[in-house]
């Protein structure tokens, strides 16, 4: 087990890490269930309860068609919530751990999210 692995191992038992894990996983699972499960439920309703879905709302716009459009709105809202949640509850803790995990190796130090110089990032073309 090298230094980095030992460091990660140590991090995994800290209460802050458990909190980070819970914050990320619980909201991820919940929102996935709402988005994906909601859509699958909508498919099932369309197949097995067509009378409900055929309720006319306005002209030719039925409840089914409106829900289909609503799906895109729900997706946008969930994506927005996810980004805000990650930015406020997950990213700060993760960033803290990242700097801690890297502090051990002054030779490999790099700012989080940035490429270390050894990868010749500047050598790439724009595409």
């Amino acid at each position: 087990m090298n230094v980095e692995q030992a460091k990660r191992h140590e991090i995994s038992h800290r209460p802050e890490f458990q909190e980070l894990r819970r914050a990320q996983r619980r909201s991820g699972v919940r929102m996935t269930v709402v988005a994906t499960g909601g859509f699958l439920l909508y498919v099932l309703l369309s197949s097995f309860a067509p009378e409900l879905m055929n309720t006319s709302l306005h002209g030719h716009l039925t409840l089914g068609l409106a829900l289909g459009l609503g799906q895109f709105v729900v997706m946008a809202l969930i994506a927005r919530r996810h980004i805000v949640h990650m930015r406020t509850h997950v990213d700060p803790i993760a960033r803290g751990f990242r700097t801690q995990a890297h502090r051990q190796h002054p030779d490999r130090q790099s700012r989080p999210g940035q490429a270390p110089a050894s990868h010749h990032t500047q050598g790439y073309r724009t595409w």
Partner: protein, 532 residues
């Protein structure tokens, strides 16, 4: 398959213009692929390309990888022919991104390197080789099926122009497309594939949006007028805007549709070429914004495709579309001809060809990286292969897989593109997804579980399709005269996806446990990010 050989969608002028446009796009992208090809013999550049792209470009590339010609032609055709049911299908295509964004993308990127095999190897270092072997088998099955679907699609598209093509034309079409794809993948690597992906995504998004705006403008931006016209010209009145036109005949077909939706919604996260894209960005922040971009762009294309499908029925009429091609693939081109004449038709058909080409390039690259990295680098050479050596194998593998797909496409040119693509989705969702999800989130998951769910999921979905109406018993089957179809559904997802998850659980519970603590370290890596 071809119904009427005599009728063709486009006239000679459009055909020439399409050819000219397609040729210029191919020439430009080929040159760019050669110019941006990896200069040093580094596998990371070949597999992942430029890792410092902006989120918008990444999102465009993801969107390009995901949306194939099946979405542009097939789904719009489905909307044009079956109204509501077709729209539901488009909804599934967009919703699939939710799971990628919320659960899969970030942990996978943090703990991944080049392939899913690398991520799994972190969890089960001792028995990684058999798992990598099974994994590349599944990856090859998914990519080859999807690749053949793209090449067969090119023949189907050609049929729209020239009527049923002769054997020589067919071969020429598949060989030309296949060769260009091999050049993109083998020489250009990921940088080349990314370039064509972005070109294609920009063309697709702008082409589809402009045509949708033209449709809406035609109906003075009145959605209800569009719906009324579509219902009137569908020949079945308001039933066109109600569920059940395609999948409502019986409980079996309703379950079939649900099964298809399940595979689409869950399969995306496990498609090898999409997974490769998720690994490319260097920081989690960039990845997150990229996936949101991809989601937005895919949703936009899906909404626009819905408008195009309804517009095709409203403007052209369902009767004409069905007469041209009974799957409805001609809908968009007919609509373009009615709205914008020969020029718009040529633009959209060029777009369809470029779309085919780009998706095929991405798939070939994903298959090649799996062969070179998992199969050759880790299983055969046991991790001792030099980078130059692995790179050579990757390039050769791209060529071999391309040629194999061309041969398969020529043999099965009459096959239904959608069926092949749906089977690929079902295999991805039932073999690759359980392993991916368990690896990322389940502490106890072991190599035995991975092997069982990979092989079991693959076998289960393939066998169920073999014994389904796709292969035998109905007039549209591969073997219409034989009858061994005891599985009633055309899409195996509803059975094979739970089976894949169940087998993974069973193998884990029964097999011997992995190295203790490996998961603790893995989890920190997946959530916090590797040192890189």
């Amino acid at each position: 398959m071809v119904t009427t050989a005599a009728v063709v969608v486009v006239d000679g002028f459009s055909l020439q213009l399409t050819f000219l446009l397609f040729l210029s796009v191919v020439v430009v992208t080929l040159f760019t692929a050669l110019l941006t090809a990896p200069q040093r013999d580094e596998i990371s550049e070949f597999y992942l390309g430029n890792r410092t792209m902006t989120p918008l470009r990444n999102g465009l590339a993801m969107c390009g990888d995901y949306l194939s010609a099946a979405t542009l032609l097939g789904s719009t055709g489905l909307v044009a022919l079956t109204g509501y049911d077709g729209l539901l299908y488009l909804g599934g295509t967009a919703v699939a991104w939710m799971m990628v964004l919320l659960l899969i993308a970030e942990p996978l990127r943090n703990a991944g390197r080049f392939t899913l095999g690398d991520t799994i190897a972190l969890r089960m270092p001792v028995r990684q080789r058999p798992v990598r072997l099974a994994l590349s088998l599944c990856t090859l099955a998914v990519t080859t099926l999807y690749l053949v679907a793209q090449l067969v699609g090119s023949v189907a598209l050609l049929t729209q122009f020239t009527g049923e093509p002769s054997a020589a034309t067919r071969t020429l079409c598949v060989v030309v497309i296949g060769t260009v794809v091999i050049v993109y993948a083998a020489i250009g690597g990921m940088p080349g594939a990314t370039f064509i992906q972005i070109v294609k995504a920009v063309m697709l998004i702008s082409g589809v949006t402009v045509t949708a705006v033209m449709v809406l403008h035609h109906y003075h931006w009145n959605i209800d007028a569009l719906l009324t016209a579509a219902a009137d010209h569908s020949g079945m009145g308001t039933r066109f805007l109600q569920p059940g036109l395609r999948y409502g005949a019986s409980t079996t077909s309703k379950l079939d549709f649900f099964s298809l939706q399940l595979a689409i919604v869950l399969g995306l996260a496990a498609l090898p070429h999409v997974m490769m894209r998720l690994l490319a960005p260097r920081s989690t922040g960039v990845l997150r914004v990229s996936v949101v971009w991809a989601m937005g762009l895919v949703s936009l294309v899906c909404l626009a495709a819905g408008v195009l499908g309804l517009g095709a029925t409203a403007v052209v009429g369902r009767e004409t579309i069905a007469r041209m091609d009974h799957k409805g693939d001609a809908a968009v081109l007919l609509l373009a001809h009615a709205l914008g004449g020969g020029v718009l038709t040529a633009l959209l058909s060029c777009l369809a060809f470029v779309t085919l080409l780009a998706v095929a390039a991405g798939l070939t690259l994903a298959a090649a990286s799996s062969v070179a990295h998992d199969l050759y680098g880790e299983v055969i050479r046991k991790g001792r292969a030099k980078q130059t050596e692995e790179l050579l194998v990757a390039r050769l593998a791209a060529a071999v897989i391309g040629v194999l797909a061309m041969l398969l496409a020529l043999v099965s040119w009459g096959a239904n593109t959608a069926t092949l693509a749906f089977l690929a989705f079902a295999i991805a969702a039932s073999a690759l997804l359980p392993t991916l999800v368990y690896t990322l989130f389940w502490r106890r998951f072991t190599a035995t579980g991975a092997l069982l769910s990979l092989c079991g999921g693959l076998l289960c979905s393939v066998l169920l399709v073999v014994f389904s109406p796709v292969v035998s018993s109905t007039p549209a089957s591969l073997y219409p005269d034989a009858d061994f179809a005891w599985f009633p559904l055309q899409n195996p997802g509803i059975v094979s996806i739970p089976a894949g998850f169940l087998l993974g659980w069973l193998g884990t519970v029964l097999g011997r446990p992995e190295v203790p603590d490996a998961y603790d370290e893995f989890e920190v890596r997946a959530l916090v990010g590797a040192a890189d």
